[in-house]
C-alpha cells in the first residue's frame, strides 16, 4: 500500500503486468474513490462551468460529457477534469484527488457572480472504474438502463446492483469502460461500496475480471497518452503545450485564461508534450533528460515499461521543432543515451487495443 494524496492504495493486486493485460484484453476494476467529485447545479451551472473550464459546456446535452481543463488567468492548468451532464440542471465534475482542496477553493472563489451550487460529494459517493472491452457486458447485467446508449464521456443515473448510482462512459486507460458511482456510500461506512465492488467482481468472474492497483492505472493511462496532473501537466503548462488543445474552445466568449490561450494558439506553443518510444532496451523514468544530438532539449515527465507494446515509453516536453512524429531523439537513462523516436498517442496500435479498436 502507498499513500496517494492521503489515501492508502495498493500498487498492485496480482501484478502490474497481468493487471494491464486484463484491462487491454478483457476487463479490470479499480477503486478510484480517492478522486474528487462535485455535483454542480443551479440556474447558472452551465455558464459557470463555461467560465471556469476551457471546453464548451453549453453544447452538452443531458447524458453527454467531455474531458476538459480549468485554467488560471495565465492559461496554466489548475486541474484536468471530466464533466458530465447527468440531468437538465446538474453536472458531475470529476477531478484529481491531489487537487481536491485547491479546486474547491478555486471553484468557490469563481462562483460568486453565478447562481450555482457546488456540492462536494467525494466522501459520500464511492467510485469504481470498470475498464476493458468486456466492461459493458458485466455492468449491463447489474444496471437497469441500456448502457449501450451511453456515448463516450456520457453518463446517466442508473441503479447499480439495486443501489442508487450513476455511470459514465469514462476512464483512464484508453479502453472502453465505465466509472461507477454509488450514492450514499460514505467513505467512513464502506459496507455499501464494498458490496458493489464485490458484486462487480462476481459478475466479472466469467470474464476473468482483475482488480487493478495504482501501478496498472499509471501504466495504462501512459500507454493511452493521457496526462497525469502533477507530472505531465500543472499550473506552469497550458493545454496547448500539453497537446490537449481539443479541449480549448476559443469560440466561447469568455473563460478564465482565454486571452493567454488565444495568443498562444495564434503564435503556436513553443514547447509541447510528446510521446517517445525507446528503440533499445531500457526504461525511461520521470526526470530523465531528452536529447537531440547530445544536447539536452527537454525532460521526461512520465516514463514506464509498456507491457502492451513491450518497450519503454515516455512522455515529456520538447521544443516544437523536435515534436514531429518520427523525430529521432534520445533519452538519458542512468548515464546511457537510449535512442527514441517521437510517437503519436496512443502508444499502442489503436486497431487492436483501446476503445476505438476495430478488431475483436
Amino acid at each position: 500500500m502507498v499513500d496517494f494524496s492521503g489515501f492508502e492504495l495498493p500498487i498492485w493486486y496480482k501484478g502490474i503486468v497481468p493487471e494491464c493485460k486484463a484491462v487491454r484484453n478483457s476487463v479490470g476494476i479499480f477503486d478510484v474513490s480517492h478522486m474528487g467529485r462535485n455535483l454542480i447545479s443551479g440556474k447558472d451551472a452551465a455558464p459557470f462551468l463555461d467560465y471556469v473550464t476551457t471546453n464548451d459546456v453549453s453544447v452538452l446535452e443531458v447524458g453527454r460529457g467531455h474531458y476538459s481543463v480549468m485554467c488560471n488567468e495565465k492559461g496554466g492548468i489548475v486541474d484536468d477534469i471530466i464533466i458530465c451532464r447527468l440531468t437538465e440542471k446538474q453536472y458531475l465534475m470529476v477531478f484529481n484527488a491531489g487537487n481536491r482542496e485547491k479546486d474547491l477553493a478555486w471553484l468557490n472563489a469563481k462562483a460568486e457572480r453565478f447562481r450555482v451550487e457546488i456540492q462536494h460529494v467525494s466522501d459520500a459517493v464511492s467510485m469504481f472504474a470498470v475498464q476493458g472491452p468486456n466492461a459493458e457486458k458485466i455492468l449491463q447485467e447489474m444496471c437497469d438502463e441500456d448502457l449501450s446508449q451511453i456515448s463516450r464521456f456520457g453518463g446517466k443515473y442508473v441503479r447499480v446492483d439495486g443501489n442508487k448510482g450513476a455511470v459514465t462512459r469514462t476512464g483512464y486507460t484508453g479502453e472502453d469502460g465505465f466509472e461507477v458511482f454509488t450514492w450514499d456510500a460514505p467513505i467512513e461506512q464502506p459496507a455499501k461500496a464494498v458490496a458493489v465492488w464485490n458484486a462487480i467482481l462476481d459478475h466479472g468472474k466469467a470474464y476473468d475480471i482483475q482488480a487493478c492497483g495504482l501501478g496498472a492505472r499509471d501504466v495504462l493511462r501512459l500507454e493511452a497518452g493521457m496526462c497525469l496532473y502533477g507530472n505531465d501537466i500543472d499550473e506552469s503548462t497550458t493545454p496547448l503545450q500539453a497537446r490537449v488543445s481539443f479541449v480549448v474552445k476559443l469560440t466561447k466568449q469568455d473563460f478564465i485564461g482565454r486571452d493567454v490561450l488565444a495568443k498562444e494558439k495564434a503564435e503556436g506553443a513553443k514547447r509541447v508534450r510528446v510521446g517517445l518510444k525507446v528503440l533499445e532496451a531500457g526504461i525511461p523514468r520521470a526526470g530523465c533528460d531528452i536529447l537531440k544530438e547530445s544536447q539536452v532539449v527537454g525532460r521526461v515527465t512520465s516514463g514506464t515499461f509498456s507491457p502492451t507494446i513491450n518497450q519503454g515509453i515516455a512522455v515529456g516536453y520538447v521544443p516544437k521543432e523536435y515534436a514531429k512524429t518520427g523525430e529521432s531523439l534520445a533519452i538519458r537513462v542512468r548515464n546511457k543515451d537510449l535512442r527514441a523516436t517521437v510517437a503519436g498517442f496512443p502508444f499502442y496500435d489503436s486497431s487492436k487495443y483501446g476503445w476505438q479498436r476495430t478488431k475483436a
Binding site: 503486468v17 501501478g215 526504461i283 515499461f305 507491457p307 542512468r334
Partner: protein, 135 residues
C-alpha cells in the same frame, strides 16, 4: 534458511542493499536476494554492467527494474567484471524465478577481497537484518 517469506542461503555474503555474493575460487558471483526480487515483483529489465569494466565497492553497477520501480545493484566488492549474465537481457524474469541461481547478475574478479568482505554480512547477519526490515 527462511525469514518470513524470504529465502536466505547459507554460505553467501550479503549487503544491506540486498545483494549477495558467492565466493568461487578467485572470483565472486553477484546477484540480488530473494527479498530484493520479491520487493520489486515482476522484473522486466536488468541494466547489466559491461564485461571488462571495473566496479568500486558500493557504487552502482547496474539496475534491476520492474514496471514502476528501479533498484540499483550496488557492487558489494571492488574489482573487474569478468562475466555478466546476458540471459537476463531476454529473460529478466530469471531474477524473480531463481534469484540465487540462474538470475545471477555478474561475476567479478575482486581487487581487495579481504578488506571488502569485512564490510559484508554472513547469512545469519543478513537474516537478522532482514527481520528488522520486515518486522
Amino acid at each position: 534458511m527462511q525469514v518470513g517469506d524470504y529465502e536466505v542461503i547459507e554460505g553467501l555474503y550479503y549487503t544491506k542493499e540486498h545483494e549477495w555474493i558467492k565466493l568461487e575460487g578467485d572470483r565472486c558471483r553477484i546477484g540480488v536476494t530473494d527479498y530484493a526480487q520479491k520487493s520489486l515483483h515482476e522484473i522486466v529489465f536488468v541494466d547489466l554492467p559491461e564485461s571488462g569494466g571495473t566496479v568500486a565497492k558500493s557504487q552502482s553497477m547496474g539496475s534491476v527494474e520492474s514496471v514502476k520501480a528501479v533498484e540499483d545493484v550496488f557492487a558489494p566488492i571492488s574489482g573487474e567484471i569478468v562475466e555478466v549474465n546476458t540471459k537476463l537481457a531476454d529473460s529478466p524474469e530469471l531474477v524473480n524465478q531463481q534469484p540465487y541461481g540462474n538470475g545471477w547478475i555478474a561475476v567479478v574478479k575482486p581487487s581487495n577481497i579481504d578488506a571488502d568482505l569485512k564490510g559484508l554480512l554472513d547469512a545469519k547477519g543478513y537474516a537478522g537484518f532482514l527481520k528488522t526490515q520486515i518486522k
